[in-house]
Symmetry: C2
Subunit: 364 residues, 2 copies
Amino acid sequence: MLVTKRSFRLPAYTTEGGRTIKDVRVGYESYGKLNAAGDNAVFIPHYYSGTSHAAGKYSESDAAPGYWDAIIGPGKAIDTNRYYVVSADALCNLNVHDPNVITTGPASLDPDTGRHYGMRFPTVTLGDSVRVHKALVDSLGITRLHAVAGASGGSNQAMEWAVNFPDFVERVVHVIGPGFSISPWVIALLDAWVAPVMLDTHWNKGDYYHGPSPLEGVTQALKTVALTARHWDWARNYFGYRLADPAKLPLNSFAHQFRIQEALQQGSSLTAKLVDGNHMIYMARANQLYNIEERMDRIKAPILFVPSATDLVFPPQFALAAAGRFRAAGGVAQVFVIEGDGGHLDGVYSIARAAEAIRGFIES
Amino acid sequence: MLVTKRSFRLPAYTTEGGRTIKDVRVGYESYGKLNAAGDNAVFIPHYYSGTSHAAGKYSESDAAPGYWDAIIGPGKAIDTNRYYVVSADALCNLNVHDPNVITTGPASLDPDTGRHYGMRFPTVTLGDSVRVHKALVDSLGITRLHAVAGASGGSNQAMEWAVNFPDFVERVVHVIGPGFSISPWVIALLDAWVAPVMLDTHWNKGDYYHGPSPLEGVTQALKTVALTARHWDWARNYFGYRLADPAKLPLNSFAHQFRIQEALQQGSSLTAKLVDGNHMIYMARANQLYNIEERMDRIKAPILFVPSATDLVFPPQFALAAAGRFRAAGGVAQVFVIEGDGGHLDGVYSIARAAEAIRGFIES
């Protein structure tokens, strides 16, 4: 399945906080075909560090397909022979240096000044991304969303879709999400994630677009994200108490590492080159602001909660509690738990384990 | 119970890594009296960010007693009417600016150069601290340890005591510990804890003793420690999704905070003034190096494992698995789980819940 990135533009968008952003652009890609009634669409918002590349490849030679390729495609759980699947970049998407990401955020040029926004960019919420995506979806001729399905921060956007456009959204798949609000512990965890960016001397209060960028801080931030989105069983099973180089004892030098240290450093160093530090900070704030507890009874769509058994960010108890609350408020909720040792990220890398549950829900 | 800090000095100590440190000093305090046989002593090593102030007060006007005062004192679980309890500062104790802490580490002056060691200080292990403490204990006329009891990093030192001095240690109380080795996940978590220190521009590769110290990095590091040593239930129960100031919406400014953000910042800002950044880094390494798996069968002492049910650092499964391994190797193990929402730190702040289990084990 070969896919192409496209760009959607709004001349202006006014945020929840009442600030107007001009020339808003977000990238999107689609799989499958929209039917004549425009009502066979499935929308896929992305997680904190993710992009709109949910499935397929850009070229045959791509090393890997999009992150949910296991469940999106012809004959798969979200069957592109039946559904028109659209995935879009959020505002303040982290990966601004990925050529396949199009987003608007602190790294964008402010049309009024010709300079990068930096930390002068308005705070945007996940609801703001959803409203921009609603305009995109309208522009594509979509009349209703058969489903919105997202992982983690994407699951929060799926809820924002359902509460803000209750007659437009027919199903919600809330994968590795917190339920109807971010948890207070994760409010603080998001701060711990992005603190290294702000400590990097090159961050310069967000004005670094004409000098060296806070690459070291971004790398460390991504390491902390990668670690806390996993689980101690994963760490033990994949790395154990082993050295990166058996000849280099950590007793003898701080430069001598354990395997897990080396792996996190290598993985994050590669990703960091694509990531903008300010966007990490803005996306963290957007997730801290996620709270639809007071409005959840407006949701008409049934919700499938798909937690991961070993999730240390949004543990499965959150999904079970949210499902209970939703049922008590008259809603329809199902829960399917992904078993595994992969922690939070089992909702991304092990999503195949939930394929039949998602297929059944989407087709019901 | 009023206590006094004392200082113990070794003219020289050679580390596990083979480096000799001159003029090694550690602080200690004691509660109760040593009997004539010298065999009624209980030793208390401290946790990562802790000190030798395990119980009692330095003066009547102290706001709070030592951290395990709930279980150490006359008539308490570790009964100072019966036992001579000694607690000592580890090498590289974090709190070098606490007037009641005496330690040797990167912030100390190297007698050979007259300059602060900084990152030139030798790597020290928890076993190194234990060997220095063994010399202290010998100097006090102690002939055997009735028990060694510690929380977290202190529980690892308790294990090092038992494995290195199997005929000297009669009981081990391993509270909120990992078992016989640090977990790979926590190897990486310790990196995430101390990374903010090294990103602070004032850290200067550890040479900051004649200029501004990396206070901002240390503060953030302590915030991350404080968060990860807790639990999402604690965060929800104590803070909820509430604002620090209801008139200041986080939607409108990054300076506007949630209560949990404010509480972590305030608590860590106060503590940071006492803490040395290099010592945080060295103590993290010491814990990363904790691994006695291959030698655990040398331990003769029975072990009481006291995990916390909500521990996200060393979850109770670790203690249960270690107890099973120890029994399989012919050892005697008991497990008592502290119930609560306080996470890892329930082994410090809620230790009273384990008081009777500890009393029974100590007196058995």
